[in-house]
Symmetry: C2
């Protein structure tokens, strides 16, 4: 099996002695809402993408069957023979042992426990596979062709419904001894509730700056007297109204930005990381980034980290998975040679 723990984010090396490889790879982004695939050639150029709904699907075999159908479709569409497929890699929405390719746990939505996803993919497709946590895979994407291309150390902060961090140190993913490094959704900062959280429920930080958390906070702030805006808004809509100058939406934005800035400040103290890349559906909103930057500036930290917006946006995980698949293919090729 391909060892993933020492995954290094260096440029892809083209060995001039080896003939060009006309193969291809597939990257997969497994989400709770959508399952997305990208077919790419060995330089990383994307030949085609495919997606389908994954809402309500809990059985990993069903997910793997969908992935297989998607791969067949992409190969057919691009007129690439089945034999050209060299590797596949997937980002999974949960704690993942990248060494063994086992998804240890996902949230209650999918409810996976110890799913040998890499083995299932290898059995279904007959090529080497790699699996890692989706936020880590997003960090790989941003490091490869995104906002962190030049960075030795950086943190990719994915803020969507949940909140997680992909940590890159010395150009390598840092996953921690139990594969949970960067699980910052539970972080405690001034303003987060102190009561212990039930496992599987949103963490203290997530409950305030994740998409669902911001919606909830908005509904707590909302009264007809305070605002003319509807009670039922999502995080991005609220931030749009804040940018347009709506006072209650601005209060909500400032509250979320303060909590986010505190989390970034704490991570920065520990890791002394010069760059944080904000990604995920909520995290890519420019108003949040700008407001968090303001809070950080007020604090005047010794080593003030730079905040940058994800360049790849919703594609960070998918593009990261392509890169992981390319590395998996070349590692296997190296073994075969």
């Amino acid at each position: 099996m391909v060892k993933q723990q020492s995954y290094s984010l260096n440029p892809i090396e083209h060995d001039s002695l080896t003939p060009p490889d006309n193969g291809c790879v597939v990257g997969v982004d497994i989400g709770g809402t959508n399952l997305r695939l990208a077919l790419a050639d060995m330089t990383g150029a994307v030949l085609g993408t495919w997606s389908t709904s994954s809402v309500g699907i809990q059985d990993p075999h069903e997910i793997v069957a969908l992935i297989r159908a998607g791969v067949e479709h992409l190969l057919d569409e691009s007129c690439v023979p089945r034999s050209a497929l060299r590797a596949i890699a997937a980002g999974a929405p949960g704690i993942t042992d990248a060494d063994t390719g086992v998804v240890i746990a996902t949230s209650y939505l999918m409810g996976w426990r110890d799913v040998p996803l890499r083995a299932l993919l290898e059995a279904a497709l007959g090529v080497p596979a790699a699996v890692d946590n989706d936020v880590n895979v997003g960090a790989i994407g941003e490091s490869w062709v995104g906002a962190a291309k030049e960075s030795r150390d950086f943190v990719f902060l994915a803020i969507g419904s949940g909140v997680g961090a992909g940590i890159v140190l010395n150009r390598r993913l840092f996953q921690g001894m139990g594969w949970t490094a960067g699980e910052i959704g539970y972080m405690l900062v001034p303003g987060t509730p102190e009561e212990p959280v039930e496992r599987g429920k949103p963490g203290a930080l997530e409950g305030l700056i994740g998409g669902e958390g911001i919606k909830e906070q908005w509904q707590k702030l909302w009264t007809e007297e305070r605002t003319a805006l509807p009670r039922d808004l999502n995080a991005t809509e609220i931030f749009d109204y804040a940018l347009a100058g709506e006072p209650l939406a601005q209060t909500m934005l400032e509250q979320a930005a303060r909590i986010l800035a505190y989390a970034i400040y704490n991570i920065s103290l520990i890791l002394n990381c010069p760059l944080f890349v904000l990604g995920g559906g909520v995290g890519v909103h420019p108003a949040l980034c700008e407001a968090a930057r303001t809070v950080l500036k007020e604090r005047g930290a010794r080593a003030m980290p730079e905040l940058a917006l994800s360049v790849l946006g919703a594609d960070a995980q998918l593009i990261g998975a392509v890169r992981l698949a390319l590395d998996t293919a070349s590692a296997r090729r190296g073994i075969a040679a």
Copy 2:
């Protein structure tokens, strides 16, 4: 110059082809109160120690002159010829570039800025020198012969007047891109003040769980009606009274333990480190460790870190400096050969 950034905490290797080295090394712990030295043979066995007051000394040349005097004294005392000295290493109480051996900044007490301490030591003693932050050097000590001997990843928490963390990942010190990794004295957790702190002043976390901070908090809690204990107690005395069952001292202990546990919890979320070693004058108090453990258990983290007391106590930095000097000697020997 000896490169320290890739310092690896592996067992000392004895090359059977090389004749035994009858040399010796010196480890130095530079503190704001005391300057301490240890002379050791090439197996790390300590031959003698020496210390002197450093209170009020700000000039680095004066510190280096004292170190030189201490080295001469130790060599004389142990009847070791001057020519046997192979290397010296020092832990400095501030942000230190271990690559160049420059102390970038210490607190206002010493007020050092960009002091080329390694070069000064090499010039004064004529042997290779190495320098790192004192908390990092303490982590080296605990990793070598202390509470973290078996640990790939761990955090050494030094809680004295100040609060800092020495981070070891993959058996290497992790110092961060600006040499400030682990500067957690400024961390924000529920209960710490949110106002930005002036540079050089105690950080938010330090102000609550550092030795001076605990003293101050005690004086805020203290009234004649609440307790028969004196108003003027230090952290260790307060914790002793808490162990003896004094209610106000117990309140103080619980408050400090809660803040400490939150900091450990946050670091653990980010690094997924299985072990935290508590050191420093305040940190080694068993009551604090036990009370912090209780708070962490209540939170029921997925990957609950183990809390252990420093085995080396006040000697962690000194012993770590000896180890750093041994590695510096063998690196230089390797270069000479």
